[in-house]
Amino acid sequence: MHEWALAEAVIATVIEESRKEGLVEVRKIKLKIGELQQIETEIFEFALNELIKVQGTLITKMKVEMDIERAIFRCRVCGNEWAFGDASKMSEEESEAIHFAPEVAHAYIRCPSCKSPDFEVLHGRGILIEYIKGR
């Protein structure tokens, strides 16, 4: 599941960045996750917790705050803006494809106004660590 792969990326990055900053204990991190990633938050949290357990003292007490950012698109042709959630219903296969490779949204989603596939993802893609707090 790609939640594990992303959780692994988060933990590796937190450890690396914290060491760079000379932290001895990480207390909290905040993640911003794009809705387009279609992450199952329960699996993601479980993966994070499992990885935290095996990573030693630096992050054992780390709390994780997650903010899921709504995916908003803007058509580059007609300027229409719409939300991922407003897109016409997708099949399970299409939804799963976007889950694994979010940019393939361009294969399945069209502007609801002019039907163009040339749209911009204004918000709600990718995954970012917004901050790492510790001492």
């Binding site: 599941m1 790609h2 594990w4 990326a9 490779a101 940019e103 990718g126």
Partner: protein, 251 residues
């Protein structure tokens, strides 16, 4: 503390830690045989006993799956995506997800798609990862240089002045950036002008592949591909040039 950081970038090196050499197949123009070369190079190295992966980064026009006749495959989910193995090669392509649908991607979408694929793909231990890139020095090539830091380039051209003019720019950029270039292969050679060797003196010309007018009949059929004149030429180039030896990799 800490400015915003994308954790996916951080994990790329770890995902590729078990890969000994990364060879990006590049070229100035479309239609000169990059994908065919990438696919047949992967098959050849596999036939020679190496563990090989093939990553198709031509995200808007993936085609290595067509060349290798891959249908109905999907990566396995196991703490990421494990690429399916076919003909002894681990193959990852966006086509598993985009299917037959046109997938128009602009620069930032290409970078994000590539980042996602690189971050979640769990390659096995590999001797060679062959990367098929789109033509020129656009987003995908720049991202290969940025994120696949160990990538060495194999540059393809034809003897057409049009292809040569562009390939010179590709090579110049790679050299400016100190990116290793294994060398150049001249494809679709007709006649014996020697123009490519005269024009490209800064990098080794690894060999010439004659115009194979039967190659189209082999597309999609691996056994036929391996018996083609094209594959025989690739094998000869691989056997002859130290640039394809496993031991010549460098970190």
């Amino acid at each position: 503390m800490l400015e915003t950081v994308d954790p996916r970038i951080n994990i790329i090196d770890k995902r590729l830690a078990g890969v000994k050499r990364i060879i990006a197949v590049s070229g100035g123009k479309g239609g000169i045989g990059k994908s065919l070369t990438a696919a047949v190079l992967a098959l050849t190295l596999s036939e020679l006993g190496h563990r090989v992966g093939l990553l198709d980064l031509d995200l808007s026009a993936p085609s290595t799956h067509v060349i290798l006749g891959i249908e109905g495959l999907y990566p396995e989910e196991d703490k990421g995506l494990v690429p399916p193995e076919i003909h002894g090669i681990e193959i990852m392509s966006i086509v598993y997800f985009s299917g037959d649908n046109p997938t128009p991607l602009r620069g930032i979408d290409i970078s994000n798609a590539m980042l996602e694929l690189l971050a979640v793909t769990r390659w096995g231990p590999l001797d060679f990862l062959i990367v098929d890139t789109p033509p020129g020095i656009g987003d995908a090539t720049l991202d290969v240089i940025r994120w696949l830091k160990r990538a060495e380039f194999l540059v393809l051209t034809t003897s057409s002045k049009v292809a040569l003019e562009t390939v010179k720019k590709v090579i110049r950029m790679l050299r400016e950036l100190n990116v290793p270039v294994i060398g150049v292969i001249e494809n679709m050679r007709m006649g014996g002008s020697g123009l490519v060797r005269r024009e490209l003196k800064e990098v080794p010309v690894l060999g010439e592949i004659g115009f194979d007018d039967k190659i189209e009949d082999s597309i999609g059929e691996v056994n036929k591909l391996l018996e083609s004149d094209f594959a025989a030429s690739i094998k000869e180039i691989v056997m002859r040039n130290p640039g394809f030896k496993l031991s010549s990799y460098h970190f």
